[in-house]
Subunit: 237 residues, 2 copies
Amino acid sequence: MTYCIGLQVDSGLVFLSDSRTNAGVDHINTFRKMTVLERSGDRVMVLLSSGNLAISQAVINELKPLDSSLLVDAKNMVEATRVVGDALRKVYSRDAEAFKEFGLDFAASFIFGGQIGQEPPRLFQIYAAGNFIETTRETPYFQVGESKYGKPIIDRVVDPDTSLKDAAKCALISMDSTIRSNLSVGMPLDLLVYEANSLHVKTHVSIGLDDPYYQQLRSSWGDRLRQAFNDMPDPAY
Amino acid sequence: MTYCIGLQVDSGLVFLSDSRTNAGVDHINTFRKMTVLERSGDRVMVLLSSGNLAISQAVINELKPLDSSLLVDAKNMVEATRVVGDALRKVYSRDAEAFKEFGLDFAASFIFGGQIGQEPPRLFQIYAAGNFIETTRETPYFQVGESKYGKPIIDRVVDPDTSLKDAAKCALISMDSTIRSNLSVGMPLDLLVYEANSLHVKTHVSIGLDDPYYQQLRSSWGDRLRQAFNDMPDPAY
């Protein structure tokens, strides 16, 4: 399993992915799920992948080398998203028949976002069929993979005028709730924060179990949640 | 869909169920999912059902009339749980063939708990095959139906020495998080609180959208969660 989040706020974009993949509980590995294309001053794009690892790696291979791919020529983020969707369709046309033979689902889902030139930042979710949807002000985020445990906190906290720091904090709390509940989502995490109109990557860190901020967040979020719980009035029944 | 929770703490049991059932988004109805057998001073049993509504209703019909069923003669809660499991197996033997013909899953899952005489209160989850598991001190609760959204708060708050009031509050918050995220879980709710060794039902209420405590909980939990979020330190990255 996997858990990836992309959040869009007025001040930019936040991307967070775990790095666990598994094929049965006895076959668990670490693979990075975040791919970044940065041409400072011109464009920044980030791709988060979930689903069958062979498919997502094949898609990224189709796009490589990134700095001479069609992504570099795309005039806007919709065009760039189509490039990723087309790469996915190419993989499908090559592999889907064999997948069917083995009774495997062609499971793949991507979060893709960034900014090109003067166009505002945009964020998309790309489905296995290569089609895609974009965030709206009402739903300014996408999750792929094990999304349910970490959804309530995002729904309650994030809206378009949330700050970038808060969006990153919320993504990390959402990830922590997921990691606690699902063994197949795991560290290290990749966090990328993109500030709108900067056209370069502000923050891109790998967060391991020994990361002091993440450790603090793990323990203090639990404490604060319990405190909030204790402050609630008792049932009247 | 459905969401039901059963919590066991040292001071008793808490049961909470929603009442929405659906067969596609254009066919949504309200059905109660909580069945109670109370013989004051002798035994209290509560059954929460999820899965195919025809199956759960058939199981309850097998058990009716409750006050002359085998549940009344059961010497302890394991025996009583077997009675429910046997009723489920009887329904299976009658209906499963027809289900297969129509390509339907025989989907059913129950939370069943209570207390008989001197035996301490016990809480079980019964699977579609009629087999069952019991809570432990490490995992003092069961959820059936749409369980993921509401799991993190239970994991962080409930352990065996949680008070009954707190357990009920936690169940309601868990339910609220689920209702916000999944349209197919809905009001009214049925809440039952059983105090250990009382051998009668302490609290059994139906909670509608206009219930003042639930309204307060909805709004103030969101506020407190956001407050807890704001109190967290900003990411150091």
